[in-house]
Amino acid sequence: MKQLLNRRLFSAALLAGTGALAVQRMRTSGLVPDRRKPQSRVAILHVVSYAASLEARIADGLRLFGLDLRGKTVLLKPNLVEYIPGAEVNTSPLLVGAAAGAFLAMGAAKVVVGEGPGHQRDTYLVIAENGLEEQLRERRLEFVDLNRDEIIQVPLKTRFTGMETLWFPRTVLTADFIVPMPKVKTHHFAGVTLSMKNMFGVIPGAAYGWPKKRTALERYRSQHSRHQRGPADRFRHRGRHRGHGGEWPAAWTAPAARAGCAFRRSGRRGLHLHAVDGFESLAGSTFGASCSIPRKRRNRTN
């Protein structure tokens, strides 16, 4: 019978494993310099409720960054999963409405709200039951279902996803200023979900399905789990994906984040500002994980 593992192979494997562990150890201990760019500017704004003063508070926060939004089209990308009574899984519609008001007050020509829920095909049902539809009507805001928007094929700059191109909604590609508005949630695998996972919602369901599995896992051809989980997710590598500034390891939310990273790598307009809804968060997700959640609202920029 042929020997599967000889002494030489065993030694080589042992050496490689030890080397990998040593490099990882040196990285975490600071011996290997981190070449990533300095962290993004972050503003943490304290509020006591989703109240009427929210719009002014957000405007105060935006002014800290000296943004010039005059004449620009702003796309707000909230995180809408589905409506589950009593569970804070969606970005608050009051926050979305207030952000829209703040951006318009800062001179934006137009504010569009766009989202493409991952599992629920009935987008209107989600926005109606979540209360966002009421905000859209009151503030006369346009909503675009990113799952069914017109799509444009975009070549990717890298091949980490194993795909040469991705289809993106026209609304996303033509917006001057994109603002992901994730809901801070614990995640059964990632620990916490933030902006990059939220950007998974820009992948059009009409092209990739509900959920959008092909884009998430193409590299590993594994689309095996219903919750965007692939082999790479087992490694919380604090990698080179700097799509959202670098404070949070982007790959935490892989592979859903890969779609967001792919968007970044497509070389199209970047994600300019992230307004994170962490006021009322879901600690202990419906999928059983738990971690401490900051009960604050964070605004941050790239």
């Binding site: 589905e82 589950i84 599992h119 629920q120 095909r121 009935d122 209107y124 049902l125 109606a128 039951e129 539809e133 009507r137 909503f143 279902d145 069914r148 928007d149 017109e150 799509i151 094929q153 289809w167 059964h188 009409a206 092209a207 990739y208 399905g209 509900w210 959920p211 599995k213 092909r214 051809r221 594994s222 689309q223 095996h224 789990s225 219903r226 919750h227 419906t286 999928f287 059983g288």
Partner: protein
């Protein structure tokens, strides 16, 4: 009750929303298979045979050489959902078309990842957070992925309708249909109904979706004797809905069960009244698929998703 005049107005609106390519987009001008098929089904009763043939020819032109339909134009991603919807539309409008057979063959040949033993082994040993039997499978949204409820249910409807018309009399068709039935029953949520793909994840039961449940219930019409189907039908009857899209699917699904339960008829009438009010809001029917489904749900014409094909 929606008046004939209101239905005519909706039909006219849908006809006017045709793109310059003579087919339909979700919104805007970019043609897609799903809204085109639903629009053709909704408008078929108001069009003459020549016009329908023209539309069918255009739809058939979008079919790829391997028998699949793309989600959008020919450059777009191959979609099993679009293929199932297109095949079912052609069965309704032009059953003798050769593209029906090639589309059916493509559906039968498309196997999800669970069809391979290594994947089944993985689900049974290493990846056990999702409660499912990987030996029971259907169709994914796109080729090379795992099974999901909605594309499986629509493929099931297309295949069941084709079986009754004796288009593809093969053992493989029966095997895939039986597997799809088993997969849907396996993935049913506790208490009835279907979510997107799973029933229990990380020991947490998932809530059913109205549209997924409706399409699945429509596809399982011949299995009404099973307690799972009865339970799901009961869930669907009780489900409240504020969206035209889901409500239209609910009505279309319930129409197939009028003859087996006395409370289905009144529920349909109630849902129709609700839908008649909802379609008056422009935001509800901004998407052409929703508009077309609403017309199909509100008119009294034969149901193109019913397994009992009208003579």
């Amino acid at each position: 009750m929606t008046t004939t005049k209101a239905l005519e107005a909706l039909t006219l609106r849908l006809a006017r929303r045709r793109s310059p390519d003579r087919l339909w987009a979700y919104s805007g001008d970019q043609v897609a298979a799903e809204p085109t098929c639903f629009a053709l089904l909704a408008l078929s009763s108001s069009l003459d045979r020549t016009t329908i043939s023209d539309y069918v020819r255009t739809l058939v032109n979008y079919q790829l050489r391997d028998g699949f339909w793309p989600a959008g134009d020919s450059r777009s991603t191959v979609s099993l959902w679009a293929t199932a919807v297109s095949v079912n539309t052609l069965i309704e409008l032009s059953p003798d078309n050769a593209c029906v057979r090639s589309g059916l063959k493509a559906l039968l040949d498309a196997k999800p990842q669970e069809a391979f033993w290594l994947w089944r082994l993985k689900f049974r040993t290493a990846d056990t957070h999702v409660r499912l039997d990987p030996g029971k499978y259907g169709w994914g949204w796109v080729p090379g992925t795992v099974s999901w409820v909605i594309p499986t249910a629509m493929a099931l409807i297309a295949l069941e309708r084709s079986r009754r018309l004796n288009f593809v009399p093969s053992g493989e068709l029966k095997r895939r249909v039986d597997l799809a039935h088993a997969m849907l029953l396996d993935r049913m949520c506790p208490g009835g109904g279907w979510n997107a793909g799973n029933s229990v994840v990380y020991d947490v039961p998932l809530a059913p979706h109205i549209d997924a449940t409706s399409i699945a219930v429509a596809g399982l019409r011949f299995h009404y004797h099973l307690p799972e189907v009865r339970q799901s039908l009961s869930w669907l009857l009780a489900a409240q809905c504020s969206s035209a899209y889901s409500l239209a699917w609910k009505i279309l699904a319930l129409r197939g069960y009028q003859d087996v339960r006395s409370d289905v008829g009144p529920a349909i009438e109630h849902a129709r009244d609700q839908l008649g009010a909802l379609v008056e809001e422009p935001a509800q029917i901004a998407d052409n698929s929703t508009l077309a489904l609403s017309i199909l749900a509100l008119n009294g014409h034969p149901n193109p998703f019913a397994l009992e094909i009208a003579a």
